[in-house]
């Protein structure tokens, strides 16, 4: 682990510093939004949104390299795709009388496939694997500022609408009767989920990002009584998982995404088992 600490200060390893800073900063929206996502039981929607991100990244890279739109940064594509996916899921679940899970799965696979098709037609070699599983070598200063920006947006929106979001998550119909625009708040929650997902795509990748939305909040949920407690603890756990994971992945020379997720999963399992044991012991 000391090697990791040394590496953080090494001038030629700036990507590692960036990765750590992004991981810590991203822990904030992941913990905050993850708590709502887990409490409202919409983790699978977060999964669909994150997989659609590949469609946006593919389209952006295609525009950049095939059409010469240099401003079309992959993360911009990721952001737009995530928001569109959230909007579609939100509208379908409210308006259309479709089976919600079918629509979510359709969006999940089509978004991902579209991304792979764009990448196949993008000139030059683009490795889809680095987006699917994350690659900290790709992290740049732009990502850093992106995460800072998203932190501010997510933080401000949650500060403003916490009570309303809790009410809508707990009992949508009642919230509507109290004059809240419940559909709008539900859509806001999906948008926040989309913004959050995008922040960590670089480090843990599209496929595994859902783990960091769900697992820290699930661990926190086992230890807290109220939503704001769950949010705070989830932030702490998320930052701990990414930091320890990055350290372990550097020390053991393993890919960062899977290491982070395995640590988070192990912690979740441990806490669940301990909670069950304690409950049995109390009886």
């Amino acid at each position: 682990m000391m090697a990791f600490v040394d590496a953080l200060t090494a001038p030629h390893l700036s990507f590692l510093r960036y990765a750590l800073i992004v991981g810590v900063l991203a822990g904030i929206p992941f913990g905050l939004v993850g708590a709502y996502v887990v409490a409202r039981r919409i983790s699978f929607i977060a999964g669909a949104i994150s997989h659609c991100v590949l469609g946006g990244i593919g389209a952006a890279l295609y525009c950049q390299n095939a059409l010469g739109w240099t401003w079309c940064h992959p993360m911009l594509g990721a952001l737009v795709a995530a928001l569109i996916a959230a909007l579609i899921i939100g509208l379908v679940s409210r308006r259309a009388r479709e089976r919600e899970d079918s629509v979510i799965v359709a969006l999940w696979v089509v978004g991902m496939s579209a991304g792979l098709l764009f990448l196949a037609r993008t000139p030059g070699y683009v490795d889809p694997m680095s987006y699917l599983w994350g690659n900290i070598l790709l992290i740049s200063k732009i990502d850093l500022w992106l995460v800072v920006g998203l932190d501010v947006i997510v933080g401000v929106l949650l500060f403003l609408f916490h009570n309303q979001l809790v009410a809508v998550c707990f009992d949508e119909e009642f919230a509507r009767l109290r004059g809240l625009k419940a559909d709008l708040y539900y859509l806001l929650l999906l948008f926040l989920t989309a913004l959050t997902v995008v922040t960590l795509v670089r480090i843990v990748g599209i496929v595994l990002v859902i783990a960091l939305i769900t697992l820290p909040a699930a661990v926190a949920g086992a230890l807290s009584r109220r939503l704001w407690q769950m949010m705070g603890l989830a932030v702490v756990f998320c930052i701990a998982f990414t930091t320890i994971g990055l350290g372990a992945s550097y020390t053991l020379d393993l890919p960062s995404g899977p290491v982070i997720v395995v640590i988070a999963g192990a912690c979740y399992l441990l806490v669940s088992l301990l909670k069950r044991l304690i409950r049995r012991f109390q009886k």
Partner: protein, 257 residues
């Protein structure tokens, strides 16, 4: 805020269909200020639909609905509503007080944080429901009867003039049910109460009139709810168990009286 004169609820020839199936047909009735009435009928007979129309959550195909002499939906601020407690996620991390505070949303525009006044109103509603000491408990840790009372507290925390209760006795043990009877009577002293129940015995104890819904709507004073009326509403004979908690033995009867 003074109420305009006239009935609290007025429905005229209201028809409603869901997915092409006629659920309500030509329903007409009025509920006056300070009344305590009950909506009874078989499952799927349109009871909950009737409540949702009053709340403006469903819109009838035909007919006229007025709540406080205004279209439903416009007067929601004056209505307290208690849905059935079984639809809630038991793992959702909220305390009893959090839930009751939700009833304060929308009482005076947008709020960033709940004010001291909101908290006071929520605590008052909880003590009225005899749950002041459970304010910090988790909803999931409560019994069925307590959860029902938490939801009533949430409904009354905005000081409504009309209270709508959907199946207040569902999954509640007899002792808790007796407590609910007293609670509802006490609330009726300051607000109009309409409740839905499939439990005719519970109803006959406290209400003055029953609205019988089985696609069509009929009004009966409770004293008139006889075996014939029950046959008409439910389409069959129904063996009734009277819930008379004041006597030692429950009476078995073929009608209500």
């Amino acid at each position: 805020m003074t109420d305009k004169p006239g009935p609290v609820v007025a429905m005229e020839n209201v028809s409603f269909s869901y997915d092409g199936r006629l659920v309500l047909e030509n329903a007409s009735f009025e509920v006056q200020d300070q009344e305590l009435v009950c909506v009874v009928g078989p499952n799927g007979g349109g009871k909950t639909t009737l409540i949702k129309i009053m709340l403006g959550l469903e819109h009838p195909r035909h007919g006229r609905v007025r709540i406080f002499n205004a279209p439903p939906g416009e007067t929601r601020g004056r209505i307290g509503y208690m849905p059935q407690h079984l639809q809630y996620d038991p793992l959702f991390p909220v305390t009893v007080l959090d839930i009751v505070l939700m009833g304060r949303l929308g009482t005076s525009g947008f709020r960033l944080r709940f004010s001291a006044k909101d908290r006071e109103a929520a605590r008052e509603a909880l003590s009225e429901m005899d749950l002041a000491d459970r304010a910090q408990s988790l909803f999931a840790d409560l019994s069925g009867g307590q959860r029902q009372r938490v939801l009533i507290a949430r409904a009354i925390s905005c000081n409504p003039k009309l209270l709508l209760l959907d199946e207040p006795t569902a999954n509640v043990d007899p002792k808790a049910e007796a407590l609910l009877v007293d609670t509802i009577r006490a609330l009726n002293k300051r607000m109009t109460v309409i409740m839905v129940s499939h439990d005719l015995g519970f109803v006959s104890d406290i209400v003055e009139r029953v609205i019988c819904v089985n696609k069509t709507v009929h009004i009966h004073p409770t004293s008139d709810v006889t075996g014939q009326v029950i046959r008409d509403v439910y389409g069959m004979d129904r063996r009734m168990v009277r819930h008379d908690h004041h006597s030692e033995k429950d009476l078995l009867d073929d009608g209500l009286r």
